[in-house]
């Protein structure tokens, strides 16, 4: 049997992703990952005011809803050598930290959980036993038998109504679901709890950025002023609200998310031995204590790890022409010097050229171009970015709390260190870093309050706001660690406007297609790592590994083109 299994749409992700897998018996022999949507935001950015760029870039993605805004203002600030006040730095850290916690919890419950949790099985749970299970895991107060009985009743009414809505046509009852009914009921209850929780904690963005999704940002600082004597600025009431949200975040992470993660993982230890793939990990670093110019003050360090070798962290230079490069050998783009040679983002060049099959199509032509994603590489290596890369980088660089959390996790699950390099390890790493960031939220908050107490209320540096104060030409890179991994925007400014703009984003690293040398991207390599499908018509195994990366495909697709006129020259087969 050499069947091609196609999963399109991959649901419970951001964006439009298609996976094709070539089977060898019941095993995946080869896998291809394809982004199937393009908008061209970088083209749209050209010629605009660099101070406006964040708003455009932010619309690359509404799930990781602030990261592109933050990367964009950092790129402009880097280009102009524009420093921001310490309060602005702390508020940005709080906003990005809140994004991590919000994103990771929602990913776990609303995007990933249904790969492991059988909703229908929860109907058979004993609410009393579910309560006992929940209370054995955590001190979270909503854990009485009555609570779970109510939840189950709600679910029963819903299922018996015959309209399953978002739960329709799923693979319920698939033998790959291993949780006892009680664990399923507990997880379904927390799915709903998390839905309520997330809309409350999103308010941190609203306080500082005016709204969520898509909170506002500002080159040179933050837009929300601080004044303890004003009803229209960050004052004691607003700070108390922020503190309340931080508390609420941490309670949920510590009492619900982490206990559920460990409990569920205990039933799926076999997923600790598949789904890793590349073994190469990359971080750009983030959460500065002293500003982006001082990488030694970053909470998450920058670096590259090759071949699982945690003893050597290699330096990464965002500006070096021969380090970060993008290939288009299997992407729907052309380079002016042909499709073979890679380009650094400063010189990034792309012409849209859809050469795939004419829709409607059944199968992509994977020998040629098959994705709207490019293939970024670091010194020629395909790299994985994201929570696993960060936890490994923190672990390898001797971060005490990370070492404790990793050891606790491995001991609790009774699995070897090698289990980190897997689908399970990736999902666990996301939970562990949520705890690390959650703790840091309190530190940043304390520092912000201490600054205000000391009389520092500055939130914006006016010095370089007026474009007339800028050099005629400038270029810079804004990098960060987004929830899904290392993210960087490169900007070239000329005559007060954007000449070139490039974003190389986490899901481009992870979800990109093969490069010129046939090296697969991280998703492709992960699926080729020890996956068998119980039933090719219900490929839940593919969903588990792909979801462990938390795909964000609108982010991953990006295009620039130095010759605007070329854009409409599209070949259609």
């Amino acid at each position: 049997m050499n069947e091609r299994v196609v999963v399109d749409p991959i649901t419970r992700i951001e964006g439009h992703l298609r996976i094709e897998a070539q089977m060898d018996g019941d095993r995946i022999a080869k896998a291809w990952s394809a982004g199937t949507m393009v908008r061209g935001i970088e083209i749209i950015l050209r010629g605009r005011d660099p101070r406006d760029a964040w708003a455009f870039a932010q619309r690359i993605c509404g799930v990781c809803t602030l990261v592109h805004g933050l990367a964009s203002i950092r790129a402009v600030e880097n280009a102009l050598d524009y420093t921001i006040p310490p309060n602005a730095q702390l508020i940005r850290n709080l906003m990005n930290g809140a994004q991590y916690i919000h994103d990771h919890v929602m990913h776990f419950y609303h995007l990933h959980a249904l790969d492991w949790v059988d909703v229908v099985s929860a109907l058979n749970a004993d609410p009393k036993a579910t309560s006992a299970l929940a209370q054995s895991l955590s001190s979270y107060p909503k854990s009485s038998p009555g609570y779970f009985a109510d939840m189950q009743k709600k679910l029963k009414t819903f299922v018996e109504g015959g309209q399953l809505g978002i739960f329709a046509q799923a693979y319920w009852g698939h033998p790959a679901y291993k949780l006892p009914a009680e664990a399923n009921l507990m997880a379904v209850a927390h799915y709903l709890e998390a839905l309520v929780w997330q809309r409350d904690v999103a308010k941190l963005h609203t306080i500082f950025g005016g709204k969520n999704p898509h909170p506002n940002f500002l080159v040179g600082g933050v837009a929300c002023p601080i004044d303890l004597n004003s009803d229209s600025a960050i004052n004691a009431k607003r700070l108390a609200q922020v503190q309340e949200i931080i508390n609420k975040m941490n309670v949920f992470v510590e009492q619900v998310y982490i206990p559920d993660l460990l409990a569920i993982a205990g039933f799926y230890k076999d997923w600790g031995s598949r789904g890793e793939g590349l073994g190469n990990f990359l971080t750009f670093g983030d959460f500065p204590e002293k500003g982006m110019d001082d990488p030694s003050s970053f909470l998450i360090p920058s670096g590259a790890i090759l071949d699982r070798d945690l003893s050597t962290i290699r330096d990464v230079d965002m500006n070096a022409a021969d380090e970060i490069q993008e290939y288009v050998a299997h992407s729907f783009y052309d380079y002016s010097d042909g499709k073979e040679a890679p380009l650094h983002p400063y010189d990034g060049e792309t012409n849209l050229n859809y050469s795939g099959p004419k829709p409607p199509y059944k199968q992509l032509d994977v020998d040629n171009s098959y994705s709207w994603l490019k293939s970024p590489r670091w010194k020629g290596h395909a790299m994985e970015v994201g929570p696993l890369a960060r936890v490994l980088m923190l672990y390898a660089s001797g971060h005490d709390q990370t070492k404790e959390l990793v050891t606790m996790t491995l001991n609790t699950l009774d699995v070897p260190v090698a289990a980190l390099f897997s689908t399970l390890g990736r999902t666990a790493a996301r939970g562990l870093e949520t705890k690390i960031i959650g703790d840091m939220m309190q530190t940043w908050m304390n520092n912000l309050v201490a600054n205000i107490k000391a009389g520092d209320t500055k939130t914006f540096n006016e010095k370089l706001w007026e474009p007339s104060s800028w050099p005629r030409q400038a270029r810079g890179v804004g990098f960060m660690e987004a929830p899904r991994g290392g993210l960087a925007h490169w900007i070239v400014i000329e005559d007060e406007t954007i000449k070139n703009y490039q974003a190389v984003v986490p899901s481009t690293w992870n979800a990109g297609p093969r490069d010129q040398n046939g090296q697969p991207g991280a998703y492709e390599a992960a699926l080729q790592d020890n996956h068998t499908l119980h039933d090719p018509k219900q490929p839940i195994e593919i969903l588990r590994t792909i979801h462990s990366f938390d795909p964000c495909i609108a982010c991953a697709v990006h295009v620039t083109d130095p010759d605007g006129e070329e854009l409409i020259k599209v070949k259609v087969r």
Binding site: D49, F167, P360, A554
Partner: protein, 363 residues
């Protein structure tokens, strides 16, 4: 029996009385070896209206609109999708993937043909069908196929409503809005980048509760949420009227909550509920948190000339002439809000000169 009728409704439509229906339920209970007390329970279950089917298609989008939906606190998203509607197809939330997901869409269309609500977020590329596909199908084909059986279409977000960011200059993919492509169905536009969470659910709630399309403005937006400009409802409006403006982002004016007009606020030309409904359970809205309004519920706001450039800048507070131009000069308290908005826009676009009399006439 029509597919969207409950059993109770269908029986009554065939002339079976209420009494007869209850007898039927009692017989059913006995047939199922249930105690007689179960008959009313069965009756209630059978009579329970089917939840209206909603199919949500995502095209050239960023998922911000879906994220916004999940932030709705009243109605809550869980109340909406578990108690009020049957969300039968939605990429981000549905459990099924691949062929199974498409099967869910097809089943929902067949079972509810003519009656389901189609929600769309994201624009549709017309430059090449390969610019955006789902399950190998182009966005345009999927829109047409799914729109055919819809009772009404709700275009959520500025991309679906007006083309949004993909449509911004130079529109590399030929992005179009739903109403550019579908003309034979009622369409409700719910713009915003993203729309306010409770506005999305509020519009759906209106349709589900009253069974009618709410009254729309000339851009297809419900007047209940888009009937007033942000400027007219802004709590900082008194400072505008007094001529008190923030000059930069943390000066005295910014801290005291003065008007952000000079920093580029698009509140005067933006029709949305931000200043009244506010965001995230009334927590704040962009202006309240110190940032000028971007104008995100208006068509082509991305190409409006710069987010930090003042919309209009009267030359001086003592003259009777105001110049609608981008960039220079100081603004004074001028009742821009009273102007006819179409004219405002045209003037803003063409940088026309207008007089104070024009402004005051409100036409």
């Amino acid at each position: 029996m029509s597919k969207d009728l409950t059993i109770g409704e269908a029986l009554r439509q065939r002339g079976v009385s209420r009494r007869g229906f209850l007898k039927f339920c009692a017989a059913t209970a006995s047939m199922m070896a249930l105690p007689p007390g179960m008959a009313p329970v069965i009756a209630a279950a059978l009579e329970k209206a089917r939840r209206p089917s909603v199919i949500w298609l995502s095209f050239q989008e960023c998922t911000g609109c879906t994220e916004s939906l999940t932030r709705s606190h009243s109605p809550t998203v869980e109340g909406l999708i578990f108690d009020t509607i049957s969300l039968d197809y939605h990429h981000t939330l549905q459990a099924a993937a691949g062929d199974a997901a498409e099967a869910a869409r097809v089943a929902a269309m067949e079972e509810n043909y003519g009656n389901y609500i189609l929600v769309v977020d994201g624009s549709i590329p017309t430059g090449n069908p390969g610019f955006s596909t789902i399950a190998g199908i182009s966005n345009l084909d999927m829109l047409r196929e799914t729109a055919a059986g819809a009772a009404a279409i709700v275009s959520v977000g500025t991309c679906a409503a007006y083309g949004g960011i993909p449509h911004a200059n130079p529109n590399p993919t030929g992005a179009a809005s739903v109403s550019d492509l579908v003309s034979d169905k009622p369409i409700i536009n719910v713009p915003g980048c993203p729309p306010i969470p409770v506005v999305i659910t509020g519009v759906l709630a209106h349709y589900l509760t009253f069974g009618t399309i709410p009254e729309l403005d000339d851009l297809g937006r419900p007047r209940a949420h888009y009937g007033q400009s942000i400027h007219d409802r802004c709590y900082r409006r008194p400072f505008y009227d007094k001529g008190l403006f923030a000059e930069t982002f943390d000066d005295e004016g910014a801290k005291k909550g003065w008007c952000l007009y000079k920093l580029g606020c698009k509140g005067p030309t933006t029709y949305n509920a931000c200043a009244t409904t506010k965001w995230n359970e009334g927590t704040s809205f962009p202006i309240e948190s110190g940032h000028p309004c971007l104008g995100c519920s208006e068509p082509d706001f991305w190409d409006g000339g710069g987010f930090y450039k003042a919309l209009s800048t009267p030359t001086a507070d003592i003259t009777r002439t105001a110049v609608y131009a981008v960039g220079a000069g100081a603004a004074a308290g001028i009742a821009l809000g009273a102007m006819n908005r179409t004219k405002q826009k045209r003037m803003a676009k063409e940088h026309e000169k207008v007089t104070i009399d024009d402004l005051e006439k409100g036409d």
